[in-house]
Symmetry: C2
C-alpha cells in the first residue's frame, strides 16, 4: 500500500571487514551505498590496513580504536571476530542501521534489475509489521498488496517494524553439516516477498544481511554468545542466532515486529564446510537447549524498553540455562556489559 | 529436499458448481484434472442441470441427492450456497481432497508454465510442515531448499502437513470493503514460495483453492458459520474463514501443520463489491470477536483426534461466544451435526 522516502541522514551502513582489500566489494555496491554514511569496522585480528576506494563517506574503526573507546579490555573482547560489527552499531547515531557481510555482492531480482538493499530494508522498517495475525498475501503494506478477506480490521494498523532480515542468493546461510552434506546446494530461487514473522514464533536470524531501527531496538542487537571454538566463517559462529532469539522475544513482548524476505544479496563462497564441521557441533547442540528456553521466556510488565528487556533477560539466563554452561553465563554477562557500554556512549554524546 | 509421487487413487477433486455450464471451466483444467476422480456438487439453488464435457471421471450431486443422503432436512440446510462443496468432502473416500472454486482458471508461473495445482498441493501435503520454528528460506522440504543455520536439528523432521492453502492471481480474495475501496487492485505478483503457518498464529483461510488430508483432518473441514445475510460471492461468506480458525487451533493442538503459498490459480472476476458492501459488515465485525476467542482457546489433552477436538470446541463456543450471538450458537450446533453426519456416512461405508 505505502511508498516510503529515504532520508540519507537517518541511515548508517555498517560493514565488518574481514579482508583488507575492500575495493571490489565497495565498487560493486557503489551505486547503492555511495549516498550513505558508511561505518567500517576492521576485524581486530586483521593485521594489514584497509584498502578503501575513494568517493565514500566512511568512518573506519580498527582494533586500537575499539580499545581506546572502551574503558576495559574485557569489553574489547566482545567485539572480536564476527562480532566486530557490533562496534559499528555502538558508535552509530542514526535511526536506522543496514548491515551486510563483506562476502556479499548486489543480487538481481526476477527482472534482472540490481536489488537496492537499502531502499528495500528501510521500506520494510518504515511500514508496519503484522505479527498478530497471518496475512496469506505476504506484507500487506507492499505496493499492490493488501489484507486478505477475514483479516481483522482492528489489527490492520499493525505494529512498528524494527528489524528487517534479508535473504541470500547463491551461497545461502546454511550450517556446516548441511553444506558439507550437500556441497552442491545453492539457493537459486528469488522469492519476491517480504513478511512478518508471527508473534511467538522464533526464527534463525542471520547477520549476513539485516537492518534495524537502532533507536527503538538497538539495545537488543548485541554481541553476547561466543562459542569456545568460534571461527571466522558464519557457520562457525552463533552470535547472530543468539541475538535473533533475544530480539524476537523482546519484539513479541513490546508489540514490535520483525520482517523477513526481500531484499536479497548475492553471497559468495568462503571457507570449507568440511573443515568447519570439526568446530560447529557445539553451536548445533546448543540450539536444542536455547530454543525451548527462549520460547517459554516471559518478560515482566515492568520491562517497557528494549534495554530493560535485555537486563531482565540476562538475569533470567543467568538463573536458568546459564548455570549449566559457561558460554551461556558469559553471554548473559555480555548482555549486561553491552547495555552498560551503550549508556556510556550515550552519556558521552549528550555530555 | 523431497520429490513426491502422486497416486490418482488417493485424490478427489471437489468442485462446487454455481454456474450450470461447466464446459469452459473443465476444458481449461482438463490437462490437470483429467486423470483424477471429480466430485461436483451443484449449488442447491441452481435450477438448471449441469453441462459437463465428456472425458472426465465425475460424480455429480444435486439438491435431491443431498436431501436423499441426509436423514434430516435441517442438515441439508448446512450445505446451501458456498457450503455445498462440503457435501463433496463428506462423500469422498479418498485420502486427499483438492477443492477449487468454479471461477478459477489455471495460473502460469514465472516461467510461463501452467501451474499443476494438484501436484503442488499434494506435494505440500506429503512433505512435512514446520510450525515449531520459522525457516527463513520458506519450505525446507522443497527441491533446492533446506533448513537455515540455527534451525534446531530436533525440529527438522517437522510434523505431518494436513492442509495446503493455495493463492490467487488477478482477482485476489479480498473482502468487499477493500475491493470496493480499491476497484483496480489486482494481485499480479507470483511469489514462488510455500511455507508453514507457525504454531499459534491464526490465518485467514480462503476456500477458493485448498487441499487437505481428509483422513487426518477431515472432521475439522466443516460448514458451520452461516451469516444471516449470506450471499453468493466469496466476500459475502465466512464459512471458510471460520473453518480456518477451527482447523488451525486443532492443528496446533494435535501437532499438525498448515502450509500456505503456491499453488496459485487465476481467479476471474465475479460480482460487484459495492453491492456486497451492504451485506458484508456482519462478517467483518464478527472477526473482531472470533479472533481473540480462537487465539486463546485451549483444548484438553483428552482431545487426541480431529473429531474429538471439534466436539470439544463446539462445546466451548456454545459456552463462550455462542451465548451472545445466534449465528455463533448455530455454528456450534452445525459442528456437532457435521461430526454426527460423518459418522453415519462412515458406518454406511463399513456396513
Amino acid at each position: 500500500m505505502s511508498q516510503v522516502t529515504i532520508d540519507t541522514n537517518e541511515v548508517d551502513i555498517v560493514i565488518a571487514a574481514f579482508n583488507s582489500d575492500l575495493t571490489s566489494f565497495l565498487e560493486e555496491w557503489r551505486p547503492i551505498f555511495s549516498r550513505f554514511h558508511l561505518i567500517i569496522v576492521q576485524d581486530p585480528d586483521l593485521k594489514e590496513g584497509l584498502k578503501i576506494p575513494k568517493g565514500f563517506d566512511v568512518d573506519v574503526y580498527t582494533k586500537s580504536d575499539i580499545e581506546k573507546f572502551l574503558s576495559s579490555s574485557s569489553s574489547a573482547a566482545m567485539f572480536s571476530g564476527y562480532s566486530c560489527r557490533y562496534f559499528g552499531y555502538l558508535v552509530s547515531k542514526k535511526k536506522y542501521i543496514v548491515s551486510i557481510d563483506d562476502d556479499c555482492s548486489p543480487a538481481k531480482d526476477n527482472n534482472g534489475d540490481i536489488v537496492d538493499i537499502v531502499t528495500q530494508h528501510i521500506t520494510n522498517l518504515k511500514t508496519p509489521a503484522t505479527p498478530l495475525f497471518f496475512n496469506t498475501l505476504y506484507d500487506p503494506y507492499r505496493k499492490g498488496a493488501d489484507f486478505v478477506r477475514g483479516y481483522p480490521f482492528s489489527l490492520r494498523t499493525g505494529v512498528p517494524c524494527v528489524l528487517s532480515c534479508g535473504l541470500w542468493l547463491n551461497f545461502a546461510d546454511y550450517d556446516a553439516p548441511t553444506q558439507a552434506l550437500k556441497p552442491e546446494l545453492r539457493n537459486t530461487r528469488y522469492v519476491d516477498a517480504v513478511m512478518t514473522v508471527p508473534k511467538n514464533s522464533m526464527m534463525p536470524m542471520s547477520g549476513v544481511n539485516i537492518a534495524f531501527d537502532r533507536e527503538i531496538v538497538g539495545p537488543s542487537i548485541l554481541p553476547a554468545l561466543k562459542l569456545t571454538k568460534e571461527g571466522k566463517y558464519r557457520w562457525e559462529t552463533m552470535e547472530d542466532i543468539w541475538c535473533g532469539l533475544v530480539v524476537k522475544v523482546i519484539c513479541d513482548h513490546l508489540q514490535l515486529g520483525v520482517k523477513t524476505g526481500i531484499p536479497y544479496v548475492w553471497r559468495n563462497e568462503r571457507g570449507s564446510a568440511i573443515d568447519s564441521l570439526k568446530k560447529e557441533w557445539q553451536g548445533v547442540k546448543l540450539m536444542e537447549e536455547l530454543v525451548p528456553f527462549f520460547q517459554t521466556l516471559k518478560l515482566s510488565n515492568d520491562a517497557v524498553t528494549a534495554e530493560a528487556c535485555v537486563m531482565e533477560m540476562a538475569a533470567a539466563i543467568e538463573k536458568g540455562i546459564g548455570g549449566s554452561r559457561l558460554e551461556l553465563a558469559n553471554a548473559a554477562d555480555n548482555m549486561v556489559e553491552w547495555v552498560k557500554i551503550r549508556k556510556e556512549v550515550e552519556s558521552r554524546v549528550l555530555g
